[in-house]
């Protein structure tokens, strides 16, 4: 009898379990995301979406982007102008902008921030260094004016895109750095990995790695206080768990969801789905330095053999837009052209014309993960239909990229992320290669695929210094057209960034790159 009583008691206890409310208070916004395998909050070193996203909330740049990359918005700089030769850029700072410490943001802080990033010289610094190689290029004019000289004349769009890069171009509080530096660490690099010295709409309260980043609104923000008091990024590596957590209400926004979960949230009124093409390019590349891909006709045949529709609608389930040019939608200069579609006869004719009427054997490298592997298998079948026998070789990313960087692949399915909001960050990797040897100045995708085109490379070099924005964008289009026709890439799509949030979440503006999403305007009704 007593045992039965105990059992009944236990059952009652179970029903009483949910005594703790899971409901998130209205003044707190919890964002679930896969913070990923890379973790660092040192502004001079951040180099991928999750860390960039945190930096973007707690630091400001001279310029910023509001909802679009086509227009530069004033950040800590209220206005800017360039000298007639395009070599000197003068930034006029906003008066009264404050760091979280209460110190004012001044020209000294701007000079200090760039000097610090250049001195620390971490991996992402190349984006700045290519045009602003040393701290001598940055001069204080007066308390609220800074002049930056560049090595080559830059147009406004390109200069703005560089100044908008999080981290290396974020403005840092010199007094806070000075307070935490040590003899062996003059830039307080160790301290800044876990703390903040910014002026952004949110202050960093705590970062518990593998768990959560807690931020609180900065009431003295120059742009007005953020709409929600507390902002929490919760690390949820498992995508299914993210979807479940959003449904149950333990997070307000989920940033990494599978297409199937997105479809489900679309049908439910209490959730809202946000979709925007991402700053990513998924492509198949052919090594033009190897037979038979040295023949442009073969490359064209492959481009006609691929079933782009099956990949976008079948494999990634519509979570992408078909795109065949290397500057994705949303970046100024994107060429909207998709001439290739599956045409088996045309591909066969081209192969015959190239001297391979019976096809050939080759190899496709891919990672053993979705969707790379699935795309490689689809391509394998598509190629088989035109007589090309391709083996799919799956390698973990680190292994695959080691081969790729050494130009040892025949075909490869890979993707590319955009570094900064300008076609400049794409024309060099995709089209700059005049020599396939180790002496080449840019050893990126065109080089890795041994596609050497000196005329095109010269044009790429010219884009850098073209001051007329419209002309520069035209040149980008021209370069994309050449690569589209002749290049070693069969570009397939730009993945959609898909997010879901509770319907009560308002003011969330998705951006083409997650790194640039701002949360200070987001609130819950």
């Amino acid at each position: 009898m007593s045992q039965k009583l105990l059992l009944i008691g236990a059952l009652f206890a179970m029903c009483a379990l949910p005594v703790f409310s899971q409901a998130i208070p209205k003044d707190t916004l919890v964002v679930g995301l896969d913070i990923g395998i890379i973790v660092d909050l040192e502004p001079a070193r951040v180099y991928e979406d999750a860390s960039n996203l945190v930096i973007w909330q707690i630091y400001d740049n001279l310029i910023t982007f509001n909802g679009t990359f086509n227009v530069l918005s004033p950040g800590l700089a209220e206005s800017w102008d360039a000298s007639a030769d395009g070599l000197t850029w003068t930034f006029h700072l906003r008066k009264g902008a404050k760091f979280h410490s209460g110190n004012e943001v001044t020209a000294d802080a701007v000079v200090f921030s760039f000097t610090r990033a250049l001195a620390l010289n971490f991996a992402p610094i190349w984006m700045l260094k290519q045009y602003v190689p040393s701290s001598e290029n940055i001069k204080k004019i007066d308390k609220y004016t800074v002049a930056i000289t560049t090595t080559v004349p830059l147009s406004e769009g390109l200069m703005g895109a560089i100044m908008g890069v999080q981290g290396i171009c974020s403005i840092i509080d010199p007094a806070v750095v000075a307070a935490h530096k040590t003899a062996s660490d003059p830039w307080a690099n160790k301290w800044l990995q876990f703390h903040d010295a910014g002026s952004g709409p949110y202050k960093l309260i705590e970062w518990a790695p593998n768990d959560r980043v807690i931020m609180q609104r900065f009431n003295d923000y120059w742009g007005g206080p953020a709409k929600t008091k507390n902002l929490i990024f919760l690390d949820i590596p498992e995508v299914e768990q993210q979807a479940l957590s959003l449904e149950s209400g333990s997070i307000d926004i989920a940033l990494n969801l599978l297409p199937s979960a997105i479809e489900k949230f679309k049908t439910e009124k209490s959730f809202k789905v946000y979709e925007i093409p991402g700053w990513h390019i998924r492509y198949l590349a052919m090594n033009a330095g190897m037979k038979p891909f040295d023949n442009p006709l073969v490359r064209e045949a492959v481009k006609y053999a691929i079933d782009y529709n099956a990949i976008v609608n079948g494999i990634v389930k519509g979570a992408a837009v078909i795109g065949e040019t290397f500057i994705p939608v949303g970046i100024p200069g994107h060429l909207d052209a998709t001439p290739y579609h599956k045409d088996i006869q045309k591909a066969k004719d081209l192969l015959a014309q190239a001297g391979y009427p019976n096809g050939f054997t080759t190899q496709i490298l891919c990672t053993p993960t979705f969707p790379g592997r699935d795309i490689a298998i689809e391509v394998q079948q598509d190629l088989a239909a035109v007589g090309i026998k391709a083996d799919v070789v799956q390698l973990v990313a680190a292994q695959m990229y080691t081969l790729y960087r050494a130009q040892k692949q025949e075909m490869i399915v890979a993707d590319w992320g955009v570094d900064y909001a300008s076609g400049d960050s794409l024309v060099k990797p995709f089209a700059h290669c005049c020599s396939t040897g180790p002496d080449a100045p840019v050893r990126q995708l065109a080089w890795r695929n041994m596609y050497s085109n000196c005329k095109l490379t010269a044009l790429v070099d010219k884009t850098e210094t073209e001051l007329n924005e419209a002309k520069r964008l035209d040149m980008y289009k021209q370069i994309q057209q050449t690569i589209l026709n002749d290049g070693p890439f069969a570009i397939m799509y730009y993945p959609l960034n898909q997010y879901a949030a509770k319907a009560s979440v308002k003011g969330f503006v998705p951006m083409n790159s997650l790194s640039f999403v701002k949360f200070d305007g987001v609130y819950k009704e």
Binding site: L17, F20, I24, V39, N210, E238, A398, Y401
Partner: protein, 335 residues
């Protein structure tokens, strides 16, 4: 006894040294570049070369090994290329969460395992016996991420009995770090409702992980009980007129525990393996998550560090099991 322990400890050092050396070289034999894994795929070659030099990866492998051994002797397990923190700091940071999970899981596993094993043996052939076996085999044969997700769907999504994930509510701040053990720190902070809340968060992941170890404990417990029960001394005990519960719990159980303890010791390893998957499913910020991330990014120092750490835990567990033998069976002598 003391000399036995000392000898075992000396052996442990050799074992750990071996594990360390093998992992060190194995990690470097893989034709993959950790720098390429950590930096984005579009990082320019100069950036890669720079980071490689920074991490000392441009030196010959023997030199790297020498530097590493020297570091280990000075209590330095190297720096993680991914987190940029000393590996030892990382291990100490993430271990408490795993320890809390593993302790809770062991308690659940052992209680369920021994109870089911005992009942199955006593009521051999009954429905209880069969369902106990199904339950335990089920736990063993399902991977932890599947069990975990199913439990989440049933108990938190449909029934709303337990939270979905994490150590504590998503919107709260952690208590100040004193010991690193969240529940202990919360107690120190005196926030008792949060302690209960954390225990509530611990339930599902601990059950997921505990269920894994239940299977072997049930089976061993059942079979050793079945071996012990027909023994003469059990019959004697019964003939003396002792109550059946006394016979089972006092006389049979203690002897049947011996093999079970071995298994429980070995479970430490499976708990650590299971923790890798369980922690990922439940967003549990422990060493399993750290290990997964380190392996995926081929973070050499972290991989070797995690391996040494696991080897240390495993050998310590073995030693403790061996010492427990002596307590349970005085016939065993340590020489």
């Amino acid at each position: 006894m003391i000399s036995y322990i000392i000898r075992r400890l000396v052996w442990m050092i050799f074992v750990i040294f071996g594990v360390m050396t093998i992992t060190f070289f194995l990690a470097r034999v893989i034709p993959a570049d950790p720098v390429a894994a950590v930096l984005p795929s579009n990082a320019p070659p100069e950036a890669i070369a720079k980071l490689r030099a920074e991490m000392g990866l441009d030196k010959p492998i023997w030199v790297q090994y020498g530097i590493y051994i020297n570091g280990v002797l000075h209590g330095n397990l190297g720096t993680s290329i991914r987190t940029r923190q000393p590996v030892l700091n990382d291990l100490l940071r993430y271990f408490p969460a795993t320890a809390e999970l593993a302790v809770a899981a062991s308690i659940i596993g052992i209680i369920i395992g021994i109870t089911l094993g005992l009942l199955s043996a006593v009521k051999q052939g009954s429905i209880l016996d069969h369902s106990g076996r199904v339950f335990s085999i089920w736990g063993l044969s399902m991977p932890a991420f599947f069990t975990g997700l199913m439990l989440v769907i049933l108990f938190s999504h449909i029934l709303h009995w337990f939270p979905q994930m994490g150590e504590m509510p998503s919107y709260l701040r952690r208590p100040p770090r004193v010991t690193g053990f969240l529940i202990m720190d919360t107690m120190i902070a005196g926030n008792w409702s949060l302690v209960l809340n954390e225990l509530w968060h611990l339930a599902l992941p601990a059950f997921t992980l505990g269920w894994l170890s239940t299977a072997s404990i049930v089976r061993i417990m059942r079979s050793s009980m079945l071996e012990v029960l027909p023994e003469e001394y059990i019959k004697t005990a019964r003939m003396k007129g002792l109550r059946e519960s006394t016979v089972i719990l006092k006389h049979a159980l203690k002897n049947a525990m011996l093999p079970t303890i071995t298994i429980m010791g070995l479970q430490v390893a499976s708990l650590l393996n299971g923790a890798v998957l369980t922690e990922t499913v439940f967003s549990w910020p422990g060493i399993g998550r750290y290990a997964t991330a380190s392996f995926l990014s081929i973070d050499f120092s972290a991989v070797v560090g995690v391996t040494i750490f696991m080897a240390l835990l495993y050998s310590s567990a073995n030693l403790i099991v061996d010492l427990l033998y002596g307590y349970l069976n005085p016939k065993i002598r340590y020489t």
